[in-house]
């Protein structure tokens, strides 16, 4: 198992956003975390990166606990995040955003990773010297994905890939995700768009108010009308 999370509790300051959350994902698989706004999905991802404070539980990467490691160490072990709201660096150029993505990488990895990101998203290549803030929403999402790929991760945490994007761009981003999965990446995907999430996910975990309330395969989730009606917003 590449990533195994046991009894995770996390939050900002005194606020607890996630309670006793357990899940796992292996190489070449996609786990979708579903649930309403404020259910704790984004906090879970940020806690996995070591940015939101972990208050309980264990995060095992390839079997060893990384709970005490700083973000740079986690990246070196192969983790990277595509955060909620994209959060590209608007004042930096496209190229510089990618350089930040490879901040902890060796120069050779950085160069290769940057080339790889441009290969996935040729449109970024055309805008390499442009301020990231001047990109369209779709291009910014591609940049956020590209930035996470520069460090050549094995485990990708993706938050709200489809939010506010045109269908054509969403499809393009999901194509890249599917490609990454086929290359053996493990992906944890937070997504409001149930349809897209279920199409790409192998397994699904549903969060409600910081607690995990349902776990199963994507097929089971799609079939289970109670789940889809209650948590996934489709009847």
């Amino acid at each position: 198992m590449m990533l195994e999370v046991r009894g995770l509790g996390a939050g900002y300051g005194d606020i607890v956003a996630v309670r006793d959350f357990s899940f796992s994902v292996e190489a070449g698989k996609v786990l979708a975390l579903l649930g309403a706004n404020g259910a704790g999905k984004s906090s879970t991802l940020m806690a996995l990166m070591g940015i939101v404070q972990q208050k309980a539980g264990e995060i095992l990467l390839d079997g060893s606990d990384i709970s005490m490691l700083a973000a740079d160490q986690r990246i070196k072990l192969g983790m990277a995040i595509v955060p909620e709201g994209r959060r590209i660096f608007p004042d930096l150029t496209v190229q510089e955003n990618l350089v930040v993505g490879g901040h902890v990488s060796e120069a050779a990895t950085l160069a290769a990773g940057t080339a790889q990101a441009y290969e996935y998203f040729p449109r970024l290549k055309e805008r390499t010297g442009q301020k990231a803030g001047s990109l369209s929403g779709g291009e910014q999402q591609m940049l956020a994905l590209g930035r996470a790929l520069v460090s050549a991760p094995r485990l990708l945490l993706v938050d709200e890939l489809s939010l506010g994007l045109m269908p054509r761009i969403i499809d393009e981003c999901y194509e890249v995700l599917a490609k990454l999965r086929s290359e053996g990446l493990a992906i944890v995907l937070v997504e409001q768009n149930t349809e897209h999430a279920l199409a790409v996910a192998d397994e699904v975990s549903v969060l409600e108010a910081g607690n995990s309330v349902w776990f199963g395969t994507a097929k089971e989730a799609a079939k289970d009308s109670a789940i889809t009606a209650a948590y996934l917003g489709t009847a």
Binding site: I75, V99, V100, H103
Partner: protein
């Protein structure tokens, strides 16, 4: 030719303001702290410059020592004065900074004496005739050269090195920068080192131009630099430099043409008030 002479004198003074105020902008940009105690580091730079020059006879060495020592002290100011209160509202840090500034003036008075220090053999006093009847001291030319060299070097580094890019990313979004493995703590130390070293350079240069350092040397620059960074649009590096040069030039003309009505040091604030009435976001600030 008087206009041109005043303009050049204004640029010399503006270069000094720029070196001081840039440090404030760097600190404000990263931590949203109004670092009043920055002016105390400027004064310390002046003292180190004079003392090391008098002791070793080398002005260049004095400049180097001042940058390193003051840079490190600036890092210590962050570590011991600001870091423990970063999670508190910004005015707490401002009060701490003012306290630190006042305390430093008294410490300088006790350690270096109340009457100030001068260079035994002031360096760079030779003059060059720029055009007929107008001469500049070597020291004044050095001020402009150093300001241009330092600021260009910083601009180049921030655009062309991974550390520079990481620093700019951290200024924009510290949490996201951390999520990509940038060590925010190191960025802050580096930021304080550079800001303080620039203040030290300014202190050494002002000590040279006045041939005097005294404990209160930083009091006027402390509030004038605040006016400059507000003028420039808080946090804008380019705005800070434009405002610094503009203020230098305005003061140079103002002393001649408005000297009877307004004190030189009051001009900065008259200028600040006028600009803020027209452009509340500062000269180059964004809304």
């Amino acid at each position: 030719m008087l206009y041109l002479e005043l303009f050049i004198q204004g640029i010399v003074q503006g270069s000094i303001y720029g070196l001081i105020a840039l440090g404030l902008t760097l600190v404000y940009g990263l931590l949203r702290i109004l670092h009043v105690a920055h002016a105390a580091l400027f004064t310390l730079g002046g003292y180190i410059g004079v003392i090391v020059t008098n002791f070793t006879g080398s002005f260049a060495l004095a400049m180097f020592v001042a940058m390193i020592v003051v840079g490190v002290i600036g890092m210590a100011v962050y570590k011991f004065a600001y870091e423990p209160i970063l999670h508190r509202p910004p005015y707490i840090a401002l009060i701490a900074s003012i306290a630190l500034f006042i305390a430093s003036e008294e410490i300088y008075r006790i350690v270096f004496g109340p009457f100030g220090l001068s260079y035994i053999n002031p360096p760079l006093q030779g003059q060059i005739e720029i055009f007929s009847g107008f001469r500049l001291k070597h020291g004044e030319i050095l001020v402009m050269v150093i300001a241009v060299v330092m600021l260009s070097a910083l601009a180049w580094l921030s655009a062309n090195t991974r550390t520079g890019v990481a620093w700019r990313a951290t200024v924009t979004d510290p949490e996201m920068a951390a999520a990509f493995g940038i060590k925010i703590q190191n960025v802050r130390y580096l930021n304080f080192f550079i800001a303080s070293a620039l203040a030290a350079v300014a202190g050494v240069l002002v000590a040279l131009l006045n041939n005097l350092v005294e404990p209160t040397m930083g009091s006027v620059p402390s509030y004038k630099a605040l006016a400059i960074i507000v003028l420039g649009g808080l946090g804008s590096i380019r705005g800070t430099l434009v405002a610094a040069l503009a203020l230098g030039v305005i003061e140079a003309y103002g002393t001649i043409y408005l000297g009877k009505i307004l004190d030189r040091d009051a001009l900065a604030f008259a200028f600040l008030i006028i600009v803020l009435m027209v452009r509340p976001q500062g000269l180059l600030g964004e809304k």
